[in-house]
Amino acid sequence: MNSDKSLGLGLIVLGIAGIWQTMQIDVFTFSEDPGPKLFPILGFSVLVFCGAGILLFHKRKQIKDGEAKLDLTQQIRGLTISGLLIAYSLGLWLFGYYLTTPILTFAFYYVIAGSSRRVWWRGVVYSAAVTAGVHLLFSQFLNTLLPSGILF
């Protein structure tokens, strides 16, 4: 099955499930107001319509599908950076900005630079500079709060 077929089917299933889920919203409306269900139902109906349209008019040849696919190494790289992003968001939530940012900025630098370009002391200086720069911009200049973390 090419991506158009699976997309078409997926949209139809999602659309029907969405319409069903929207119907479960329990509301009382007054006068002629169609209520809060109408708009989402409209959106999900467009999904069903588009799913059917994609199934009917999908291109026979599997064009461009290969472009989007990543090989194993690329998938591992993608997962690595995604893992670091999740770690950063967790760190900000748990430990706050000042503890997490220097460590994770260094980690981002270290991973993105790769073995040929990374120099540890540059990474340390850079992480400190980014942490201080963002602190100055947000905390000092714009007078906003930076994440403080729930553990401290």
Binding site: P34, F39, P40, G43, V46, K64, A113, F138, L145
Partner: protein, 512 residues
Amino acid sequence: MHDILASFGILLQPATFALITISTALGIVLGAIPGLSGGLGVALLLPLTFGMEPETGLAMLISIWVGGISGAMIGSILLGIPGSPSSIATTFDGYPMTRNGQAVKALGASITASFFSTVLSILIALVLSPLMARLALKMGPWEYFSLGFCAISLVAALARDGVFHGLAAAAFGLILASVGFAPIDGNPRFTFGNLYLNSGFDLVSVMLGLFAFKQIVVDFAKGEQQIPQVDSSDIRGFGVTLKEYKDNIWNIFRSFFIGLWIGFLPGMGSSLSNMVAYAQAKSASRHPEKFGKGCIDGVFASEASNNAAVGGSLIPMVALGIPGDGVTAILLGGLMIHGVQAGPLLFDNNPEIVYALFLTSLIAAVLVLIMQFWGMRLFPAILKIPYHYLYPAIIVLGFMGVFVGSSTAFNYILLLGFAGLGLVMDRFRLPVGPFLLAFILAPMLELNLRRGLTYTDDGILPFFTRPVSTLLLAAAFFSIVSPYLLPWLKARKVKKAEANAQTSRESGANVN
């Protein structure tokens, strides 16, 4: 005339002028940083103006706003990350131009289109404010709904992989924007008991997730860390040739009027105008296949339209007291805090404030032009920063950008979730443009749809009987069916011509 000269006198006082200059520069910087915007600057610095004279305080806020709208294109063109929703369409061709080594040219086109549009829109606003405001009042919810629907259809119809892909992406935008309290009655939808979802998805998280974070993951996964080459050594002036300006005169004017019109409709604004103008430029172009690959026409269209909305959105704010978009709503709040009541009587009661608003915008536009002209050769230096230095800084700024809006860690989840959604959309070739446009317009669409259905006893009928609404819906319908209808009609015509030729050949043979 006396009032205009008096306002000019106040604004050109050294201290006020210095404040305008600094605020404009600040607006450009905030606009260029992913996650921040001139609008955020206006909101954050509003309290600073409380102790100032009204003209000075408003001059400061207006300058940040104008600088922010113009500065948003820097991130769009150089990094492919729109600084604000007003420059989303600029990324479509601006970033590919950078990838093709034409960053300075893209910046030059953007700067000149922005300046032209800002100045012209303010001059028009200055003269036509009362008249245009009355015109806007004649539009009802039916026209607003149809306009929004038409805009989404126009953008969806241009999807590279077909109108169904574009519409499906737009439908996702509408559905995700439905999360949270519904308009009018405030019923929670699809929140599943999560309090953070009551106010819906944060737009900054959506934008940064879909553009910046998705791009960072994809680039790193594919190992694309080659820095685009920028050769600015032989660039003269703005880097755009006279022929390119000449070829785009109609495009710029059309985009300008789209921006002006959308800007002065209350509740609309530059977030919508740049997409519609881009869609129009592509569909009217003689070479639509070049769009999305680094076509300067797309940059002209987007930037001419978003800056036209500056003057456009000042019109309803000044003449009716109705904000054209979120930022003008804050500016309106600023006016009220200073004891100035915007509306039809503002011209009579506080003419100096009206002229100060317009003249500050003009001064800020000139300052933006000067600053960006000198800066356009320096901005591409961002591209010379290796990715291992650039990306970590963008990641940190992005996380802080989504945090400052609501001070909640839940926005981190949204940010990463929308980056994931961006990857899935890429996989299935669903375009981001229609998704984002629908997401931004959905609250306005729903509100006007429900108002339109309740204002009369005729139900859905007024949407199809009121002339402007009918026209807009017909345009929307045509844009959806035309990708299938036009080739079919063309094929039918060719077939008919072939059949006629065959018949005439046969009849000729019979005569012989």
